[in-house]
């Protein structure tokens, strides 16, 4: 019974990412969209926190949001997805939790 957690706000502006990271269960996944993809910015504590997540937690980001922001040096564990992949993920997990 796993949850897809979805973040869309910059992790440099508020505590959504920090809170979410604490509440991720072993088989949950994290999907970054919008300004939340800035969490992948190199040389930041946020990027490091994502890299240190247990390997059982899958990490996704919306490809067009990465490209729009010029984020190319992404972690190896990151799986970039398009909108069709977004829909597929929502169906794959038991529930979604959008951190609005």
């Amino acid at each position: 019974m796993a949850t897809l957690h979805m973040l869309s706000y910059s992790p440099f502006a508020d505590s959504r990412l920090a809170s979410c990271l604490r509440l991720l269960a072993a088989d949950d996944a994290l999907l970054l969209t919008g300004d939340a993809v800035y969490a992948l910015q190199a040389n930041t504590a946020q990027r490091q926190a994502l890299e240190l997540m247990p390997v059982s937690i899958a990490l996704f980001a919306l490809e067009e949001d990465l490209a729009a922001r010029g984020l190319t040096a992404v972690p190896e564990r990151l799986q970039a997805i398009d909108y069709a992949g977004f829909v597929e993920l929502c169906c794959r997990y038991d529930r979604t939790n959008a951190w609005l």
């Binding site: 019974m1 796993a2 949850t3 505590s15 809170s19 604490r22 509440l23 991720l24 269960a25 949950d28 038991d94 529930r95 979604t96 939790n97 959008a98 951190w99 609005l100």
Partner: protein
């Protein structure tokens, strides 16, 4: 059978309409007898402090409305232990009877509902 939903509320009552909107979702769902739970997380725990005076800011009192949750059949009320302690709040002096849960228990809680929404 109705599907269950956990509403995670993580804004203070004074940061905008979000706290009230989360409560409205809960009360509306309760009126339709949906199996709901509500979790107070991060600044959301500030909704539970006593002696708030909403009239000072020309606002309506959220505390009184929170008291309506059990009357609407919403008894599954939780607060995050870490959020309370980070903010210096005493779990025994809250305006609403909630179950205080640590991070491990919260992970299990979230994965026990059909739907989750975080506001």
């Amino acid at each position: 059978m109705a599907r269950s939903m956990l509403i995670i509320t993580r804004q203070s009552p004074w940061s905008g309409p979000t706290a009230r909107e989360a409560l409205d979702i809960a009360l509306a769902g309760g009126a339709f007898e949906l199996p709901l739970g509500m979790l107070f997380l991060d600044d959301g725990v500030f909704q539970l402090t006593q002696a708030q005076q909403a009239a000072q800011l020309q606002q309506k009192d959220l505390t009184a409305n929170l008291q309506a949750l059990p009357m609407f059949g919403i008894d599954s009320l939780y607060a995050a232990k870490r959020s309370l302690s980070e903010r210096g709040l005493d779990a025994t002096k809250l305006s609403l009877l909630v179950e205080v849960l640590d991070d491990d228990a919260l992970r299990t809680l979230i994965n026990s509902y059909d739907h989750v929404i975080t506001l």
